[in-house]
């Protein structure tokens, strides 16, 4: 049986990226396999680890828990879309580099997208709020201390204004 393919109008990182995929294609797989955007990582594939988090119309969602056909017409931001227009690191990426917020880096794309949206909604989080912001993302290397520091450092960079 040949599976029916459906047209999906997706905008990814500001660029229209039309797709033709089966209904069962997860958004995570559509990004990675169909569009070649392999920055979005797939860890547990059932919504627990947070590695595949992308922004859907600006809000963090697990891309492994969303069907690509279900978000027709919406805007997706992946980790590839977080750098500055000139290609330099965005504030959260810069903070992760400065604070040693990653080791193997597998979970990092999910943290970066989550924190980018989190700091947009709450630009100066308390220490507890910074912890809460990343509570839905798993990291098996760092022990989280430097990730929380990176959240606080990214907030500082944001407060300093565009570099």
């Amino acid at each position: 049986m040949t599976e029916e393919l459906l047209d999906v109008r997706l905008s990814v990182n500001g660029t229209p990226r039309p797709l033709r995929v089966p209904a069962r294609r997860l958004l995570s797989d559509a990004l990675r396999h169909d569009l070649g955007l392999t920055g979005t990582h797939v860890g547990c594939e059932h919504g627990v680890c947070g590695a595949c988090t992308v922004l859907l119309d600006g809000r963090p969602v697990r891309s492994c828990l969303v069907l690509a056909v279900s978000v027709d017409g919406q805007e997706v931001t992946t980790v590839e879309g977080l750098a500055e227009p000139d290609g330099s690191l965005g504030p959260v990426q810069q903070a992760f580099a400065e604070c040693h917020g990653l080791q193997c880096g597998f979970c990092t794309p999910g943290f970066l997208t989550t924190i980018t949206a989190g700091l947009r909604d709450n630009p100066s989080p308390t220490h507890e709020e910074a912890r809460e912001m990343v509570a839905g993302n798993l990291c098996r290397c760092t022990g989280y201390q430097n990730i929380v520091k990176a959240v606080e450092r990214a907030a500082e960079i944001g407060a300093e204004g565009p570099s």
Binding site: M1, E3, E4, L6, P22, A23, R24, L26, D29, E45, H46, G47, G50, T53, L56, R59, P60, V61, R62, C64, L65, V66, L67, V69, S70, V71, D72, T114, M133, A135, G136
Partner: protein
């Protein structure tokens, strides 16, 4: 870890959704998908078709008036949680929503979807039951209202029929002078609770709702019970009501211990809120 193939319908109205469901007994409704998509990926569910509500305009409403809060089928947990009007009219809704998974899941998951999924470990079915709320559903024969007390029939099983779409849920307002509280114990932040308790105190009436204790959300009446006896009184009603279950996460004995500890704590907090 990929879903099995299914046909996909994206209706533009609830009536079209009902028609699509009625035309295929193996069809399921997709709203936020935060419980359904993992079930599909793990192939614990393999519906022949999905009827995706996400293209239906107007289902994302969160309406608040003096009588209560009406939440549409596409209202995301995060939107309900962020509403100051909801917090003012029925504070138990946001108190419990803050415990529903993580913020990222709440951005996509829907409150009505969580009610219909009927997981006994979920927060919102207990809230709807404790508040005597209701669910509005539309089927081939039109709309009907299901009172919360008739909604939950078994584990992951509600009385919503296969060819019905849950359109909205109604959470009654908190009466003047009444108080509510919510607390749960989970192994990890954002994870399913081992036991959760919601309490509603209104004058002499004291009720508590329990999640993750029995097979369905369970409400017990604790009116007139002395503060020191609340835990035992709750247990005395919960055990015959369907039993306290054991699973890989906790034994029945440990859950009973949590009921003894949490019930007086949450009832006290609800009384302080009156």
């Amino acid at each position: 870890m990929k879903p099995a193939p299914f046909a996909y319908h994206r209706p533009g109205s609830v009536a079209e959704a009902v028609t699509a469901l009625a035309g295929d007994p193996g069809a399921k409704v997709l709203a936020g998908g935060q419980s359904l998509v993992p079930l599909l990926s793990m192939r614990l569910a393999a519906p022949s078709a999905l009827v995706d509500l996400n293209g239906i305009a107007g289902l994302d409403l969160v309406e608040v008036d003096a009588t209560g809060v009406r939440v549409g089928a596409l209202a995301r947990h995060a939107d309900v949680l962020a509403s100051d009007d909801v917090r003012r009219v029925q504070p138990l809704v946001p108190l419990a929503l803050a415990h529903v998974a993580h913020a990222t899941i709440r951005n996509r998951g829907t409150t009505v979807g969580s009610l219909v999924h009927a997981d006994a470990a979920a927060e919102m079915p207990v809230v709807l039951s404790l508040l005597d709320g209701s669910l509005e559903v539309e089927g081939p024969g039109g709309r009907r209202t299901i009172p919360a007390g008739e909604l939950y029939v078994g584990p992951l099983e509600s009385s919503v029929r296969q060819d019905e779409v849950a359109v909205s849920a109604f959470f009654p307002a908190l009466a003047p002078g009444a108080g509510v509280a919510f607390e749960e114990i989970a192994r990890r932040h954002g994870d399913y609770a081992l036991v959760g308790v919601a309490a509603l105190v209104d004058g002499a009436s004291v009720k508590a709702g329990f999640l993750s204790v029995a097979d369905i959300p369970t409400v017990v009446d604790l009116s007139g019970v002395a503060d020191d006896d609340l835990g035992e009184a709750a247990l005395a009603q919960l055990e015959p009501a369907g039993g306290i279950h054991s699973d890989i996460h906790a034994t029945a004995a440990y859950r009973a211990h949590l009921v003894r500890v949490l019930t007086p704590r949450v009832v006290r907090a609800a009384k302080e809120g009156t």
